[in-house]
Amino acid sequence: MSAIATELKNETLVGFYEQLWRIRLFEEQVQRLAARGEVPGFPHLSTGQEAVAVGVCALLNEDDYLFSGHRAHGHVLAKGSDPYAVFAEIIGRQDGVCRGRGGSMHLVDVAHGVLGATGVVAGNVSIAAGAAWAAQVRGESRLAVVFFGDGATGAGVFHETLNLASLWRLPLLLVCENNGMAEFTGREEHSNVAKVSAFAAPYGIPTQTIDGNDVLAVYEAAREAIESIRGSGGPWLLECMTYRMAGHYVGDAQHYRSKEELAAMKEKDPIDRLRRDLVKRGIPENALAAVAARVKAELDTVVDRARRAPHPDPRTVLEDVYSAWN
């Protein structure tokens, strides 16, 4: 057991365990409903990557700014958004966090500091830098965190943002979920740079590459980064090595992967990994099973309620193109 695990209370660790299950089971429900044709569009699941969201967001304050992309369910839930409002959004209902205008790829929840989610890979990286800059100019202690995949490092704006963040010493935490895939293309085919953290070096941005399937390793690295950022130490880049157990989107046949690869990665499932750590620590298996069962029941209720929620009134389709002119 790692040093950080001995330092943290049982209660905190079980809280991580619960959040991991909340994201996992939430997305299982998304997948289930998508298969039944109840989810418009093409949702992207973060199954297998949940530890990154949980480990980082556990250290954020409600007023810290969070930005994510098209695979955002986990980040938003971990930041504190109401699972009901998020689920209702994903199935396009009026009670959704964006009143059904955004959907799975555009989960914004200003009340919980979730300022941006974009369907454009790398689209939010520079936006997060701008929010960090605004906080800095105002002399606030809050920071901006942006989650993106290794696929985003192929976009020019990722590199532009590293330059800006470094030049302006922004309070910005860049979290790369390196799942080894840019949509359908493996990393060895989409970049000659093996580690995303290597991009930070020329800009003098501190960086760490860590096991993103170990929520405690994520937590520990993120804590060091966030303490440094809050102390005006400038931006950090965390590279979390992880694995997308799901396809790029729900329905992806994943012809690019072997069964052996998938089976091997299931061994590294972040939830099971934390479960083993917790059992070693003396927390009974049945107590952990009860946590998962409770979250499942909670989400069953959420999903039932969301499915009964009304769709937006078509007569409101032209609302909110602009905020009032004056």
Binding site: G96, R99, V108, S126, V137, Y322, W325
Partner: protein, 327 residues
């Protein structure tokens, strides 16, 4: 007093920074290569250095930073330099800024202003000469501000920086920077979304925006002096919002419409005005609507080639005479 277009811009920026601490600048070139006009910004750079970011050449990153700062409660002005460089930033301007208010179900908005020195400047060739207003006009969620006079350069920019709740693209023009207008600090400002009748007339409506405004005014002068034709000049001021009512009312009075537009001919601002007249003003028309626009060709470099396609006052006069003689 008279002020120039460039003075209007510099004054609007300085006053906005002074009035509201949320106003911030990302880049501060603004006046392009015009050395005289650049000097006007020295007080801004001197008085508000802590709210101005010195920037690398990084349009996409800077536009995104502007969107993010606006999401976080600031009111940024992002200098995107030459108008054609808005294409470097298009992903942020068009696919992020413009969509955010709608996509979030109205939770948030981004009052960011993208500043752009757009249009045919002379010698800019194909990559530094775009009039981008029609392309941007296709983007719901954006406001597209196209001042054609110094007072509107001042007023529209100040409105964008201090009052607007939505993302704006402010289209300045390299050849307008020296244009002058009467201006007093206490003038009531014409509401955004209202066109301005710059000259009243009875025989033909000349509909213009941005650099086309002074050229349409010159054309109206010639039409009166040399041809006895009374021309009304409608300055659209903004492409989004577009004041269709004032255009329709003007054409209802004159019966003829000539639209001067620095965009390319097809799918341009002129095309939208012409369509509006066809849909809602057809009964007023005594002659076919005429568009005086740039042909559908990349902007050439060599001066005689560029002159051949430029929308001049003379071409507007010719368009107006054709409209008047058609009936």
């Amino acid at each position: 007093m008279k002020i120039t277009f460039a003075e209007g811009i510099a004054r609007a920026i300085h006053e906005s920074l002074a009035a509201d601490p949320r106003v911030v600048l990302i880049g501060g070139g603004i006046m392009g290569l015009n050395t005289g006009a650049r000097a006007l910004l020295e007080p801004v750079l001197r008085d508000f250095a802590s709210r101005i970011m010195v920037t690398p050449i990084s349009e996409l990153g800077l536009a995104g930073a502007g969107v993010g700062a606006a999401l976080a409660g600031d009111r940024p002005l992002v200098d995107l330099s030459t108008g054609s460089f808005v294409f470097q930033a298009f992903a942020q301007v068009v696919n992020e800024a413009a969509n955010i208010h709608y996509m979030t179900g109205g939770q948030t908005s981004v009052p960011v202003t993208f500043y752009s020195l757009a249009g045919r400047r002379g010698g800019g060739a194909a990559q530094h000469s775009h009039a981008t207003q029609a392309m941007l006009g296709q983007v719901p969620g954006l406001q597209v501000l196209t001042p054609g006079g110094a007072e509107d350069a001042y007023g529209l920019l100040k409105w964008a920086l201090l009052e607007s709740r939505n993302p704006s693209v402010f289209l300045s023009h390299p050849l307008l920077l020296g244009e002058t207008a009467e201006w007093t600090a206490h003038d009531a400002f014409l509401p955004v979304g209202k066109a301005r009748i710059r000259r009243e007339g009875r025989g033909v409506s000349l509909i213009a925006s941005s650099i086309m405004v002074p050229r349409a005014l010159a054309a109206a002068e010639t039409l009166q002096r040399e041809h006895g034709v009374s021309a009304e000049v409608v300055d659209l001021r903004t492409i989004i919002p577009l004041d269709r009512d004032t255009v329709l009312q003007s054409v209802a009075r004159t019966g003829r419409a000539v639209i001067a537009d620095e965009c390319h001919h097809s799918y341009g601002v002129a095309a939208e005005i012409a369509a509006t007249l066809a849909e809602k003003g057809f009964a007023s028309l005594k002659a076919p609507v005429r568009r005086v626009t740039m042909p559908d060709v990349p902007i050439p470099f060599s001066a005689p080639l560029e002159a051949e396609i430029t929308v001049t006052a003379e071409k507007i006069v010719a368009g107006a005479l054709a409209a008047v003689r058609a009936a």
